[in-house]
Symmetry: C2
């Protein structure tokens, strides 16, 4: 006897799922194969309309909440029970790819279609959601839709945020909602039975291990710092090195010492200096000021505390006569996903004969916030060489389908609980 | 019996010289006490007109050559003999001070006035010159007027150079020349008997040694390099450090190794990384590309060759998996000024009872080019803490006057030869 779960996975249509990705990637397509579809932009509105069109063609109900989170619902046998949610986001980085975010929404929608095609009824409703503004590249902070949904962020607190062109978030949101005026409205934060988000890994580990499925056990913690180094501008030809206060060389010493601090034979520590600004940035003037960022991540809160607390002292110890200010800009503890959901993912992969490994997420996701209000998990699939936030982002149709099959299994299991 | 030389130095008027500096500093004055008077700008034109006004009030003839070098002439008894030249430049850095360049022009003009006041006749004519565009901050390269004067640079080769606003140098030059239409015109590169340039030191050595006058023996050599490091952009949260090609960390390793290479207990080596550009310069993306500049200077050609030739190999040895391209962008050998002029400066300082030391110039000056066609020397005076190319640039009225007194002595000696 074939169970409902196995039937659900069998309904996943690899070609249809791939075509939906390609269709979505045309909205905000860049000339280099990438996608620029920033939150609440015309391209984002087009992506929302496209998803709504597909949903209505299948008879799924659509609804939107005050921050623009878009829900596509396949009703269960007990429609008053809290639904099982799946999804991710449709917005992208300005130099984004075709899969980050879009995959989670389209895989969720593919599961709804598969269940519809097969006539599988579930106890709870299943809803595919596109959370608003996960990337945070146009309006900060990111993961805004999921944070507002779970009550971590007040909607009123961000309406006056402006983008680089001076557009107010409140106005962009109003325009986005006005573009789909007939959509049902929902309040923020209705009860959710559980949440499962599918996503490309955005890292190279599945590929390196030759696995198709990552059962995501949690999201590592992050501590970010802004370091400002103030030295003294001087003439490069005349000023003896001994008397200089060279902000750039001081910053280099700090970063070198931080590299030593963060050295980790197990290669679990993530330590990145991504931003580095020099003033006056002229070849023949000794730099008087440097600003640099520190992005430090680790799954273990004890390591986050021990190494993160050393960042400011290490910078001060290597200031080479310059003044240094270290400001913490972000501090997010690691989170662990619900074990039952991780096991459901591993179990589904095993039943489907798909290779699977436990994996910790290095990146943030909307799941980080939803985990605060409901049992939550994630499913990763490989992306080529781990490259993401990059127009070169790439994933295989068969891998995307494999993840969607696992997702179908897990969602039906959770919806029938 | 008082000699003509001593009389000339006695005619230097410290207050007048200071007031001329303050008047000139109002043309392009910045709010922070500095000066922004870029080459061939409205402010430069105003400075030229001011100098011409002062000159005509004293009956000195003014002339301009095709690149805008402005000459103020006090005729000698044998006006057909090649003149003795003195001067510097009136243009400044965008974040410049009141003394760099202006001092050499105003000290030269002060000598002409002192001689006129005292009725001292010289055999050769003496001319104070303001060379066009020494700084090179608006139009590259710098020292353009003196380079064109000595035939090192063809005027036609730079006319199409544009500034950041897209203004063509040829058009800015034409506007500058048109602003003083009645001025006599001269060809480039007439014969010059000798050249002496007064300048603030732009370094801290006179101040540190407690000396008033630097008898400049030469200008150190320079080798500049542009280093481009290409790594691979990656997600800061997900990408293991072991697999990264982090262009910033590679650049830091290169600069650290170059610091070791350039280590010099005698503190004569000048090694500066002034420009450092990171792409994409985002806190949570591993840098994919870094560009940085190397400015290396030394008085000894053997050291310039030995260390300079190591820059590219050292960068390649520390590339940490990134691709690196090292391009030489400037290579100027050290120059030695004519010993007779250096001795004339030391001798004049000694006769005037002013403390004096031999000093090598760390910075370029127009004297570097004029030295190619005439016996040349320079006189340095202290500037506070060696700070220059900075609105905080500062010099003492008494020090400026002391330098002008030495200059008066030397010019009269050379003009009577």
């Amino acid at each position: 006897m074939v169970t409902a779960r196995a039937r659900a996975a069998d309904g996943i249509d690899e070609a249809r799922l791939w075509q939906r990705h390609m269709a979505m990637a045309r909205l905000g397509a860049r000339g280099d194969g990438g996608v620029n579809r920033q939150a609440l932009s015309d391209e984002d509105i087009a992506a929302r309309r496209t998803l709504i069109g597909w949903a209505e063609a299948r008879g799924f109900a659509c609804a939107v909440d005050p921050i623009g989170n878009l829900f596509v619902r396949r009703a269960g046998r007990e429609p008053d029970q809290p639904p099982v949610l799946t999804g991710s986001h449709l917005d992208s980085q300005p130099t984004g790819g075709k899969f980050d975010g879009a995959y989670g929404v389209l895989a969720g929608f593919e599961v709804l279609e598969a269940l519809e095609d097969l006539g599988v009824a579930t106890r709870r409703s299943i809803e595919a959601v596109a959370w608003t503004n996960e990337e945070g590249s146009r309006f900060q902070p990111g993961a805004m839709g999921s944070a507002a949904f779970v009550g971590r962020m007040a909607l009123g607190a961000v309406l006056d945020t402006v983008d680089r062109a001076g557009v107010r978030l409140g106005d962009a949101l109003e325009a986005t909602l006005a573009a789909t005026p007939t959509l049902a409205r929902r309040p923020l934060g209705f009860p959710v039975a559980s949440y499962v988000e599918a996503h490309i890994e955005q890292g190279p580990r599945l590929e390196a291990e030759g696995k198709l499925i990552g059962a995501v056990t949690g999201i590592q913690g992050s501590r970010w710092f802004a370091v400002e180094v103030k030295g003294e501008e001087a003439h490069a030809g005349t000023t003896p090195l001994r008397g200089r206060k060279d902000a750039l060389k001081a910053a280099m010493s700090m970063i070198g010492a931080l590299e030593s601090l963060m050295a980790d034979a197990s290669d679990v520590v993530r330590f990145t200096v991504g931003r580095f600004d020099v003033s006056p940035n002229s070849p023949n003037t000794v730099p008087g000021r440097v600003f640099f960022s520190v992005d430090f991540r680790h799954p273990d809160p004890a390591v986050l505390a021990r190494l993160g607390d050393r960042v400011a002292p290490v910078c001060r110890e290597h200031a080479r006569g310059c003044a240094v200010t270290v400001t913490p800009t972000f501090d997010a503890p690691p989170i662990q996903f619900e074990r039952a959901i991780v096991d459901a993912v591993s179990g589904a992969a095993a039943r489907l004969g798909l290779s699977c490994m436990d994996i910790f997420s290095g990146a943030f996701h909307d799941a980080k916030f939803v985990a605060e209000v409901a049992p939550t998990g994630m499913i990763f699939v490989p992306c080529a060489r781990g490259i993401s936030h990059n127009p070169a982002e790439s994933a295989e149709p068969a891998h995307l389908a494999a993840g969607a099959r696992v997702l179908a299994e897990v969602l039906v299991e959770l919806a029938d609980r």
